[in-house]
């Protein structure tokens, strides 16, 4: 059974690029346009990994990580931040919130796949 990955980004093109990379490797991909949308997508289905942007409207990526970690079903789900943010202070915020990795855009599909394969839940 294919692993289900949720990509959260307010940029449709970024969601599209991530989807292409992951679907090509055999993963199922769900899309959310911000933190709130992502939380609604988590209900009623099993998600094996979350890839999220940081700066988004309605709910930003760091808040999303904190909110996801409060959900019992997703407490151990790996979350990877995929963002243009490269400031160390922001990275620390992500790490403290519970993110597992921080990828600075632009990313190469192969690099993203490497991170996903390393962290995705079995």
């Amino acid at each position: 059974m294919a692993k289900n990955i949720l990509i959260v980004d307010d940029s449709a093109s970024v969601r599209q690029v991530v989807s292409i990379a992951l679907r090509g490797a055999g993963y199922e991909v769900q899309e959310g346009c911000d933190g709130k949308d992502a939380l609604s997508k988590l209900k009623g289905q099993k998600v094996h990994m979350i890839i999220s942007d940081v700066n988004m409207p309605n709910m930003d990526g760091i808040s999303l990580v904190k909110a996801v970690k409060q959900l019992p079903a997703y407490k151990f789900t790996p979350i990877v931040m995929l963002t243009t943010e490269s400031q160390e202070s922001k990275k620390r915020e992500g790490q403290e919130a519970g993110a597992k990795a921080w990828i600075v855009k632009p990313f190469k599909p192969d690099q993203l796949l490497g991170v996903v394969q390393k962290l995705v839940l079995p």
Binding site: D9, S11, A12, S13, V14, R15, Q16, V17, S19, I20, A21, R23, G24, V54, N55, T83, T84, E85, S86, Q87, K90, K91, G94, Q95, A99, K100, A101, W102, I103, V104, K105, P106, F107, K108, P109, D110, Q111, V115
Partner: protein, 402 residues
């Protein structure tokens, strides 16, 4: 687009309130020359001992002071009106023009977002279709490792089955050769039978000769040999019958011999035809297999070329997808600039309010705006640009594991 009526706010008419405020601020100074003229006139008049002509001179001084004050007030009013118009126009610039700039930036950002998303989707479609074409081609050609019913597999199975057919034909020919050898052996039996028939005929002839001699001897014996004579006659009959049987045997054996010879000739001809036929079949099968092999090989090579090209194209598209991510970065920069532009009208309005309140020009707080802009930055190159540095396309290699 800004409407034409909005431009009226840039005219001096909009400066009435600040103008009045300005005048209020100027009044204490507006009578300085008049007072000076009055004082000079009274002093002159008094110094002349209240002479009438001196009074006229004093009046002239007073009038000059009044005229000078009026002129100065007029110039000041005009300057204040221009300043107020400038302040009001600048605020109108922030209120009317900057939102339009912001709207244009946002519109461009959204259009770029939509276009890039669609472009990415099309690239994704190309990658998917290439993948499907590659799989279909590999499966049809059977060049993939797991293919069990591709062209290569069909060729291998066809080769095996046709070789089995050839082998079975060769076995049938070998079996015919054995039968032919058996027929050859039958020829030697016929010869033996012919010799045996000849021996039977010879025995019959000798028996007949003995019976003749026995009859002669019986005649010599007279009445006493009569019985023996009858016996000799019967023996002669038997020998004649044996001789006839021997001849018939010879005839039949000859016929059998001829039939066997004919059968042998037919078998030899049939075997020769079979061998020739098998040789032709073998040649045809090898020819067909060779042609099939060439076609299969060409298709496999073609599938390999397609696979290589597809992988190359997919790799190129992946690179293109990396480059397309510039949209996200540009979009963020545009959003940050737009947000900062949206803050400018507030600063300009505060500046106008300060001017109206105090009558003094209030500078726009550029440092606050710059600080607010800097606070929105997410990317290192935004900070670099802010400091006046130049940036190149960022490399995609920064991954941090926690």
């Amino acid at each position: 687009m800004p409407n034409m009526s909005s431009t009226t706010t840039l005219s001096p008419a909009g400066a009435a309130t600040p103008f009045a405020t300005g005048l209020r601020g100027l009044r204490p100074h507006a009578w300085h020359c008049t007072l000076l003229g009055a004082a000079g006139g009274i002093s002159t008049w008094a110094a002349s001992g209240w002479n009438a002509w001196a009074a006229i001179g004093g009046g002239v001084l007073l009038a000059a002071g009044v005229i000078f004050d009026r002129q100065r007030a007029l110039v000041e009013r005009r300057r204040q009106a221009r300043t107020a118009a400038f302040v009001s126009g600048t605020e109108a610039l922030g209120r009317e023009l900057l939102p339009v700039w912001g709207a244009h930036i946002e519109s461009s950002r959204q259009q770029m977002e939509t276009a890039i998303a669609e472009l990415s989707q099309r690239f994704g479609g190309i990658v998917d279709r290439l993948d499907q074409a590659m799989k279909a081609s590999s499966m049809a050609a059977g060049s993939s490792d797991s293919a069990s019913h591709g062209l290569v597999a069909v060729f291998d199975r066809s080769t095996q089955e046709l070789n089995a057919v050839l082998e079975s034909l060769r076995k049938a020919t070998a079996s015919n050769s054995e039968m032919h050898a058996e027929v050859q052996n039958l020829g030697s039996f016929v010869t033996e039978l012919q010799q045996m028939a000849a021996e039977v005929a010879s025995i019959a002839s000798q028996t007949n000769l003995l019976a003749i001699n026995a009859a002669i001897e019986a005649a010599h014996a007279g009445e006493s040999g009569r019985g023996f004579s009858v016996l000799a006659q019967e023996v002669r009959k038997l020998s004649a019958m044996s001789g006839e049987t021997g001849r018939r045997m010879t005839d039949k054996v000859n016929l059998v011999g001829q039939a066997i010879a004919k059968a042998r000739q037919s078998a030899e001809a049939s075997a020769a035809r079979e061998i020739a036929s098998i040789s032709v079949c073998e040649g045809s099968i090898n020819g067909v297999l060779s042609g099939f092999h060439n076609v299969t090989q060409a298709l496999v090579e073609s599938a390999d070329v397609l696979k290589r090209e597809s992988i190359g194209i997919q790799s190129e598209i992946c690179e293109a997808l990396v480059q397309l991510q510039f949209q996200d970065r540009v979009s963020q920069v545009m959003s940050h600039v737009r947000q900062n532009i949206e803050q400018v009208p507030g600063e300009l309005a505060a500046s106008r309010e300060g001017f109206e309140r105090t009558g003094d020009l209030q500078p726009v707080d550029a440092a606050a705006l710059l600080a607010a802009l800097q606070k929105t930055y997410a990317m290192a190159e935004e900070h670099t640009t802010h400091r006046g540095g130049s940036v190149s396309a960022p490399a995609s290699e920064e991954i941090t594991f926690f």
